[in-house]
Amino acid sequence: MSTIARKKGVGAVLWDYLTTVDHKKIAHLYLISGGIFFLLGGLEALFIRIQLAKPNNDFLVGGLYNEVLTMHGTTMIFLAAMPLVFAFMNAVVPLQIGARDVAFPFLNALGFWLFFFGGVFLNCSWFLGGAPDAGWTSYASLALDSKAHHGVDFYTLGLQISGLGTLIGGINFLVTIINMRAPGMTFMRMPMFTWATFVTSALILFAFPPLTVGLIFLMMDRLFGGNFFNPAAGGNTIIWEHLFWVFGHPEVYILVLPAFGIFSEIFATFSRKRLFGYSSMVFATVLIAFLGFMVWAHHMFTVGMGPIANAIFSVATMTIAVPTGIKIFNWLFTMWGGSIKFTTPMHYAVAFIPSFVMGGVTGVMLAAAAADYQYHDSYFVVAHFHYVIVGGVVFALLAGTHYWWPKMFGRMLNETLGKITFWLFFIGFHLTFFIQHFLGLMGMPRRVFTFLPGQGLETGNFISTVGAFFMAAATVVLLINIVISVKGEKAPADAWGDGRTLEWAIASPPPVYNFAQLPLVRGLDPLWLEKMEGKKELTPAEPLGDIHMPNSSFLPFIMSFGLFVAAFGFTYHQETAWGLPVGILGLLITFGSMFLRSVIDDHGFHIHKEEVLELEKKGANA
C-alpha cells in the first residue's frame, strides 16, 4: 500500500475503490473479487469430492449435487479464472508497454463492475430457491427442463451481465495495446504477456457475442415464451450447443494464452536469458487463436453430425497441438543454458510444462472422434480439462500472484511459504486428477452424484478426494502468506533483481501516473538492455511536464447496478406484479447513467510537474 493510501480513513479508501478508474486499482479489485470467487468455487469443489469420497455417499445428493457441480464450473471459469486473468492484464500490461493508463479508463471500471454484479447476481440464486443445475455448459435440453426454481435464469442473466463486462475489457486492451505503446515499443518488441493479452482480447471480441446470443435465446425461452430450443414448436436444442461451443472452445484459449504469457515472462526472468524463439512464440500464439475458432464441434462428436464433419473437426483439433508444441520447446530452450533461479514463480513454471503436456496429450486422444465415443462424458474428459485448466491456467495464476505481488502491493511474499504452497498444490493436483483418467476409462460417468461399490472405483475416488484437501491446504498457506506480507519486506522497483520488462523500472507499487516521463524503448526486454549498459534507469522519451489524468467516476458502478436490478425484475416478471416494473426501473437506471455520461463533459485533470517531482522523490526514498 502506498503511503498516501494509508493516511486515508476506511470510508475514503472504499469510496476511492468504488469510483476509481486507475488500472492499478482496478487490478486490485479484480484480484480480490476473483480471489473470493476462487475460494467459493474451491469450497464447492471440496463438497463435490466429499460426496464422491465413498460409494453411495449421501453428503450431497441429487438436485443439490447438480447445483453445486454447476456452480463450481461456472464460478471457476467465469468468476474466478477470467477476472484473475484480467487482474494481471490490468496490473501489468499498461506498465509493460510504457503507458500511463489504458485507452478507456472509464470503460475499464465499467467492465469490472459489470463482471462483479453479474457474479453477485449469479450467486444470489443460492438464497432464492436454488442455484443453476444444468451444468456449466447449460445444455438447452437440460436447462429448459429445470423448472423447480429460477436457478438457470440466474445463469442466463448473470452471465449476460458479466460477459458484457468481459467484452468491454477485451476492446479496451486491444485499443490500449494498439494506440498507447511508448515510443519505440514496436509490436515485435512487446513482452510475451502483452502479446498474449492482445491476442486474447481479440478472441474475447469474437467469442463472447455468440455466448451472449445463446444466453439471450435461453432467457427468451425460459422467461418470455420463446421457442428457440423447444422442439414441440419447431425449435432445435443443438443450436445452443453450437453457440455455446463457438464461444466455449475459444474461451479455453482466452484463459490459457495469458497463462502462456505469464510463464513466458517467468521463464525468461528466472533463467536470466532472453525468451528463446520470441518471434515463433508470437506466431504460435496467433496461430493457436486462429485455429481455436475452427474446432468447437470437437465437443459435439457424439451429437450425430456425421462422419465428414467429425473427421474435419477431428483433424483441425489435432493441428492445434503443433503451435502448442512449438511453445513448449521454446520454454525448454529458454531454460537451457540459462542461470536458473528457483523462486516460487519458477517452481510453478517448471511444473507447468509436464502437467500441461499431459493435458495436451489427452486432448489429442479426445480429438480422435471415433475414440471420443468412448471417452465422452466420462471422468477422462474431467481429467483432461483439469490438467489443462489447473495445470495451465491455475498454475499460471498462482505463479503470477507470487511474481507480480510485489509490483502490485509493494511487499514481497514470503518465499518459504510460497514454496510450501507450491508443493502442496502440485502434489494435491496430480493426486486429484491423475487417477481420474483411469476412473473415466473404467466407465465412471461425469456429473453423476454417486457410484456403486464393487466396481473398482472406490480407491481411485478416495485418492482423488485426498488430493483435493492438499490443494485446499495450499490455498490456506497462500492466504497466510498474503496476510503476513502486510508487514513483510518492502519491494524495490526491480523486485526480483532480474526484471527485464518496463514494469520493473518503476516504483513498487507504481505512482498513479506510472511513468514520470514516458520511456524510450530500444529493443526487446528494454530494462534488461539498459541494465546491461550499466544504467539504472530507462532512457526518457519526453521532458518532464504536467501529466494528464482521467477523473474518477461513480457512474460505472451505477450502470452495472442498474442491470443487476433489472435482472431481478425480469427473473420474476412472470409470477409477480413487481417484476416487470423493477426490470424496467433497472434498465432506466442503466440507460439514465449512460445518458449522463454522454452529456457531462469529462476532460480529466493535470498533475503538475512540481507534484510529479515531489512524488518521484518520495518514491525513490521508499
Binding site: I171, N179, L205, F206, P209, P210, A233
Partner: protein
C-alpha cells in the same frame, strides 16, 4: 492538438475525429466494437436460417412478407445513411449548422423506418405470426427486433448529441462523438441490407 482549443475553419483539422489521442482511441475502439456486433448478428442470422421454416403450423414468410412496405423501409434507411454522410462531410468542413441539419434529416428518416417496422410487426401479430407462436417467430422477431432496437438506440444517441452540443458548436471533444455515432448508423444500415436480402427477399421466393 488540444481538446479544449478554440478552432476556426482554417485551424480545424482534416480528420477531427482522430486529431486527439482520445479521438483516436474512440475511433479504433468503436471499429472493434462493430466487429463484435458483426459476430452477434452473424449468430442471429445463422439461427434464423436454421429455424425459418419451423412455422409450427402458422403462416410462413412467403405468406406474410409484403414487398411495398419493406421496400419503403429499406429506402428510408438507405437514404438516412447517405444523409449522415453529408452530415459528416459538413463536420469535416467545420460547418456546424449544416451538420446539425443533415443529422436532423437522418433522424427523421430513421424514425420513419422505425414507424414502418412497428406497423409491420403489428400486422404480423394480427395474422398469427407471434414471438411465442413458433421457432420461426422467435428467430424472426429476435433478429429483426434486435436490429430495430439498434435503430432506436441510434436515433436517441444522435439526438442526444445534437441537443447537447446545439449551443457550443464543434470542437475536438465532440467531433469524435459525432463521428462514431455516424459509424454506428452505417453499421445498422449494412445489417439491414442483409436482413432485407436474407429474411425478406429469400423469404418471398420461398
Amino acid at each position: 492538438m488540444h481538446v479544449e482549443e478554440k478552432l476556426t475553419p482554417e485551424t480545424f483539422p482534416a480528420a477531427p475525429e482522430r486529431a486527439t489521442l482520445e479521438g483516436k482511441n474512440k475511433f479504433l475502439g468503436f471499429w472493434l466494437f462493430l466487429g463484435g456486433e458483426t459476430v452477434l448478428f452473424a449468430s442471429l442470422f445463422a439461427t434464423y436460417l436454421a429455424l425459418k421454416d419451423k412455422t409450427n403450423g402458422g403462416p410462413s414468410g412467403e405468406e406474410l412478407f409484403q414487398m411495398p412496405i419493406v421496400f419503403m423501409a429499406t429506402m428510408l434507411l438507405l437514404t438516412s445513411s447517405l444523409t449522415s454522410v453529408y452530415a459528416i462531410y459538413h463536420m469535416k468542413n467545420f460547418d456546424f449548422q449544416k451538420m446539425q441539419l443533415w443529422f436532423g434529416i437522418t433522424v427523421l428518416l430513421g424514425a420513419g423506418f422505425l414507424a414502418l417496422e412497428i406497423y409491420e410487426f403489428y400486422e404480423y401479430v394480427h395474422e398469427g405470426h407471434k414471438f411465442t407462436s413458433s421457432a420461426f417467430g422467435s428467430a424472426f422477431y429476435t433478429l429483426v427486433g434486435t436490429h430495430g432496437a439498434h435503430v432506436a438506440f441510434g436515433l436517441l444517441w444522435i439526438l442526444t448529441l445534437m441537443i447537447r452540443n446545439a449551443k457550443r458548436g464543434l470542437n475536438l471533444y465532440n467531433a469524435p462523438k459525432f463521428y462514431v455515432a455516424s459509424l454506428y448508423w452505417h453499421f445498422i444500415d449494412v445489417v439491414w441490407v442483409f436482413i432485407f436480402t436474407v429474411v425478406y427477399l429469400m423469404g418471398m421466393v420461398g
